[in-house]
Symmetry: C2
Subunit: 82 residues, 2 copies
């Protein structure tokens, strides 16, 4: 499995409950693509969200995020970590 | 303490050892600003690095990264996470 960080824009002023709802929307369908979105961090000032995920491919992760209602093409395979 | 994700560009083709060396350069001085850089993820294809940190302020984190030789102004306080 590969590891990914993806970035979403446009979440200015979003609350914890709203972020959790978006995360749950991913979680409800992620198994269908063998994806697991482990964690999401939000800066409500800039509206940026960073998600840490594992999955078979960038495209699989993008399909899950799109179907869950928050598409992004800013998906990076983070093959190295320390 | 606040939580931050910061983003660096320009690490195309960087190896795990090189990323570890950059991370160590931060670690060697981070205590001086009360910062702790917990984790760094690298996509060597795009050259993007994402760091997860805690610290007293965005500026303190930026000073550590600058002194360690890899400045960035893409620093986001991630006050919400799920």
């Amino acid at each position: 499995m590969a590891r990914f960080i993806d970035v979403h824009d446009g979440f200015v002023g979003v609350t914890k409950d709203q972020l959790a709802a978006a995360h749950d929307a991913d979680a409800a369908i992620e198994d269908e693509e063998g994806v697991h979105i482990e964690h999401a961090w939000l800066d409500p000032q800039s509206g940026k969200v960073f998600c840490l995920s594992t999955g078979p491919s960038k495209e699989a992760l993008m399909r899950i995020h799109e179907r869950a209602g928050h598409p992004t093409d800013q998906v990076y395979e983070v093959s190295i970590e320390v």
